[in-house]
Symmetry: C2
Subunit: 219 residues, 2 copies
């Protein structure tokens, strides 16, 4: 069974933490971008690397022993700060800020830079799959039928340019333990990638699904 | 049409650059991991953030104006250092070191840490899609039938734990401009995700495909 942690923080504490970590991680994302694009000379790179290593050591003085996990308060608020797509504290994540209708729709508007490139100037095809998996999973959860990804099918209509993008998905139907979701990724010119996902709630989790917090683990 | 750059570096220059940037980017990956997992106090995070911003500014003194792209020497050697899966200079990439048989097979053994998490302790389902898309594309190219992703279908057999993993794919068949590839992701216990990809070479690229370097753009 998956493990998840419960932490009790007040709304004010959560807001302060969100601001602190959100801003810090954004700075690290900028460093990731600069690391990829820099053209400074060898000596300067070596000097910067030494400083980066020193900063990492300072952060590691106290750290969680494993991955971040998904943390919940006893009141059901969820912090999936480590998530590879939406994680506030994860510099690998763009991160997407996903909005929801409350009726089985989820969407996000975002910008992808150099770190998400595949073919020159285009988003890596696998990155589009990564983002759509998350959006589809959130649509399933928003429609009251959360689950882990069972199957995911992507159809690439054309290359997706790096830059401003929009992703959305909606719950299409529920058949037993399977939730069918359809979605797409688009740029200003229209759809670039279409997808269909089937999300399935593992048996061990079905008895826990009435708990809002636990449901969110699968989003 | 996609743009790609041509740079003429000697093998020694390329080796030195690989060592320099590979090591530097690995340091930044460690910082990304520490950023996610740190439990140092607010004052220390703010102090580290200020230093991170200063380092970013030093790197940005000289930088490529857009994304990294895919760069080739006139002799056909390829440097896709910006790639989101295999990019040596991309801290978002694990990165995977993909091996090839020369006969349409590609595989990689690698380790995924906290930055690739979805459900607690498990690899994000979308990350598995991201990695398999790259491996499948490389298998298609290795088999002499490269292309951009046309469709990608993933079947999730069980959750993929963070840690040591193996991915592989092979060219199954070629039908006209379509290359069919099958692959999977596995941990020590066996297969966790199966996939099938169809890769298609865009019309404008077909006349360029005899150029080994250009082919590599689609890998």
């Amino acid at each position: 069974m998956l493990e998840y942690a419960t932490e009790d923080l007040s709304p004010d504490e959560i807001a302060a933490e969100t601001e602190l970590y959100g801003s810090f991680t954004q700075s690290v994302r900028e460093l990731v971008d600069a690391t990829l694009r820099t053209e400074v000379d060898r000596a300067e790179i070596l000097a910067v690397q030494e400083q980066v290593d020193a900063l990492t050591a300072r952060l590691r003085v106290a750290q969680t022993p494993g991955p971040f996990g998904v943390r919940m308060s006893s009141k059901g608020s969820v912090r999936n700060h480590g998530n590879a797509v939406v994680g506030l504290r994860n510099a690998v994540a763009p991160p997407l800020t996903v909005e929801r209708s409350g009726t089985g729709r989820a969407w996000a508007d975002f910008h992808l830079g150099a770190a998400y490139e595949g073919p020159p100037g285009l988003v890596h095809g696998g990155v589009t799959a990564l983002l759509l998996d998350q959006i589809c999973g959130e649509a399933a959860a928003d429609g009251g039928a959360p689950g882990m990804t069972g199957t995911l099918t992507l159809r690439y209509r054309r290359g997706t340019p790096l830059g401003a993008l929009h992703a959305e998905a909606h719950l299409d139907r529920v058949e037993g333990v399977k939730t069918f979701v359809v979605g797409h990724l688009a740029d200003a010119e229209g759809v670039t990638v279409e997808c269909e996902g089937v999300f399935i709630l593992p048996r061990w989790a079905r008895e826990m699904v009435s708990d809002e917090g636990t449901r969110a683990v699968f989003e």
